[in-house]
Structures are given as structure tokens and as C-alpha cells.
Amino acid sequence: MISTAIVMAIAIYLVFIYSPIEVEMGVIQKVFYFHVALAWTSFLAFFIVFISSIQYLRTESRKWDITAYTSAEIGVLFTGLTLVLGSIWAETTWGVWWTWDPRLTTTLVMFIIYIGYLTLRKSIETQKKGRLSAVYGVIAFISVPLTYLSIEIWETLHPTVIRGGEISMDTSMFITMIVSVIAFTLLYITLMKIRIRIEKNKDRINQIKKQDRKY
């Protein structure tokens, strides 16, 4: 937890003080570091949902159910922030808040898919809750690359930093980006730890309540 705070502080320093102000876009370009970091972390989060869902279906262990659920929550939060920051960036650079670019569209679709996942979980009250949401967790993740593939055929406006192994970016900016990606990945891990602990405590409280009722 402390290491996350330290790396996050370094990242913030690099973003706001160390890295130069971009000539064309100006200060608004700094949004990019957080935007990329959040986008990467939400992909990671949804990948974890996928893996944990498969593991839950195999083992039926509550641990994996909690991991899948909490990761989806954080993923939805991070994707939401990615979209908002991206919009702010787009407004100054492209002059519009939103455009139906493949990258943007697939991210929005992914956001809706996992909101669906969370809603589904909330709306099932039986024992099958974990299993049903795990099945959806698997199907949902399969659909993400497919959706990207199907609409990527159209030209993308979205800038790509690394193309064909070459980095089209200033070194100091690249360092800043990498550090902020690491910082957000650590933040994700820390948030996961806290959320999992909360869920486990909830389970324990419920168990104690049940035992209490017996006497």
C-alpha cells in the first residue's frame, strides 16, 4: 500500500513537473498519461474477471467469485474515467467530445458489457449467482476482442504511441507514461486487496449472524 502511494506520487511529479508541455496540444496533453494508464488497467481488470470466472466455474471456490466481482467493479470505474478523460482530451484536440472511432466505440461497448455484468449479479438472489455471472464473465470477455476486430476495419483516428516497434514520442514523455501505467496497476492491486478484504469480512459477518440465530 505504501509502495503504491510512493509510485503514485512519483508519477504525479513526472506528469506535472518533469515532463515537458506538448507544443501543439499544450497542458491538456497531460491528461493523456492518466488516460493511457487507466485504459490499460481496465483491460487488465477485465482480463482478471475472465480468468477468475473460468477458475470459479472449475473450482466453485468463493475466493474466485469475489475476485471476479471486485475486479469488474474497479474495471467499470476505471473505464468510466478513461472515457471521461478521453473526452476532455478529444474536445481540445479534435474539437468534439465524442466521435464514433473504433477504439472509442469498443471501449464504450466494453463499459456497457461490464455494467451489465454488475447489474446481472445484483439481480440474482439464488445460490446460482456466482455461476451465472461467471458464465457471463467468460462470454463478455470473448466478445471484447471480437467487437474490436469487427469495427477496426474502419480507419482509426485514435493516436497510437507504439507502431511497428517504434515509439513516436519524446523520451521523457515515454518514461512518464510507463511510470504512470505502473502506478495505476499498483493502485488497481491495492484497491483489489481492500475490496476483497471487505467482501471476506462481509461473508464472515453473515456466517456469525447465521450461527447466532441457531442458539
Partner: protein, 226 residues
């Protein structure tokens, strides 16, 4: 394998028999899609044939998925209401056969609705120019609908346990089937405008259908059972 298939076909026969007796799904979906077409007529500005060719594929597939979702919502309702799903589950057969049976019966019913909807479209919008493209369009419908129904049947089984039931199915299904929708609209567009080869899109649709079908059949056992 033969026993598996014959049992699957019994399930399909049962579903179709129920539908033939009640005709609930067929008439409701068809009435709905006709109503959508009527609303489209009022919502659209006046257009030339070439303009209509541009928007027609989109309109067609929107009507299909909206009508289809009504059918998918009902697909496990009959079993749920009469509690006969327990009986089906107790038959000595792998549960994936239930999925397969439901998918086939949904496919047949929804496909019939779609083809009838296409006829209504042609009649009400006077689409005489479309006749020569009909075989191509039907091919796109056959392939696109299968992908949509295969994952739709699985999700409909999932949502039948949900408190929100009919409300949540579109929210889960539409984002997942977006690739199929994009592919179907593009393929239909290319088929009627002749602006390019539509076969690559058909291949893509088949690939999607196979992926979704395989994933669904592998996970269906977890959806059933207590």
C-alpha cells in the same frame, strides 16, 4: 452421438409443437416487427431508392434484433411457468442437448419471423428492386441470425434466474452481439449495393457464430442445475 441427436430433436419437436399450438411467439414478434416498420415509415424523411439502399440494411437488422429479443425472452418462460424445466433436466442426457435443442427451435421460430418481416418490408415500402438480391440477403439472414440466437439462447437461460428477467436481457445481449450486427449490416449493404464482395463478411459472421456457439455449449451446463 445418435442418441444425443435424437434426444435433441425431441426437445426441438416439443418446442415447435408448443409454438404451433399457441402461436404466441410468432404472432407477437410479427405484430411487433410490423409495428416497427410502420413507425419507421413515419420517422423517416422522404428518400430516393439509392438513399434507401444506404439505410435499409440498418433498419432491417434493428427490426430483427428487437423482434428477436422478444422471442428470446420467452424462450425459457414456458418451462419456468409450468416448472417443467426440472423434468427436462432429469432426462438422462447431457444438458448441452437442452441448449442445442433450444437454440435450434429458437432459430427456426425467429428465422420464420425474420423472413416474414422481410416480406412485410418489401410490401409496405414497395421494394420491388430488392427481388434480384433476395438470395444474397437470405444467406446473410441465415448466417447472422444463427450467431445472434446461439449466444442469445445462453443469455436468456441466464437471465431467466434474474429478478429483472426481460429487462436485463437486451442490456447483456446487444453489446455482446455487436460484431454480428455490424457484420450483418455490412454484408446486407454490400449485397444490395454491389459496392464490393460480401463473402468476406459472411465468413466473418460464420467465424463469430462458431466462436459464440462453442463458448455457449461449453458453459451451458453451469447455467442449468442448482
Amino acid at each position: 452421438m445418435r442418441i444425443y441427436l435424437s434426444k435433441t430433436l425431441v426437445l426441438v419437436y416439443k418446442d415447435l409443437l408448443v409454438e404451433m399450438k399457441t402461436k404466441e411467439m410468432l404472432t407477437t414478434m410479427l405484430a411487433f416487427s410490423t409495428m416497427v416498420i410502420i413507425i419507421l415509415n413515419f420517422a423517416l424523411p422522404s428518400y430516393s431508392v439509392s438513399e434507401f439502399k444506404e439505410i435499409f440494411p440498418g433498419l432491417l437488422w434493428i427490426t430483427f434484433v428487437f423482434a428477436g429479443i422478444l422471442g428470446l425472452n420467452q424462450s425459457f418462460a414456458f418451462e419456468r411457468e409450468s416448472n417443467s424445466i426440472k423434468g427436462v433436466l432429469q432426462t438422462p442426457i447431457d444438458w448441452s442437448a437442452i441448449y442445442l435443442g433450444k437454440t435450434i427451435s429458437n432459430y427456426i421460430i425467429i428465422l420464420s419471423v425474420e423472413l416474414l418481416t422481410l416480406l412485410v418490408f418489401i410490401a409496405l415500402f414497395n421494394l420491388t428492386w430488392i427481388i434480384e438480391y433476395l438470395p444474397k440477403i437470405v444467406l446473410v439472414i441465415l448466417v447472422g441470425t444463427f450467431g445472434f440466437i446461439s449466444v442469445g439462447t445462453l443469455l436468456s437461460a441466464i437471465t431467466s434466474s434474474s429478478r429483472l428477467q426481460t429487462m436485463i436481457l437486451p442490456v447483456l445481449l446487444f453489446p455482446v452481439i455487436l460484431p454480428i450486427l455490424v457484420g450483418s449490416v455490412e454484408a446486407t449493404q454490400l449485397a444490395i449495393t454491389g459496392g464490393g464482395d460480401y463473402i468476406p463478411w459472411i465468413q466473418l459472421l460464420i467465424a463469430y457464430a462458431v466462436i459464440f456457439f462453442t463458448a455457449s455449449i461449453l458453459t451451458f451446463n453451469y447455467v442449468m442445475g442448482e
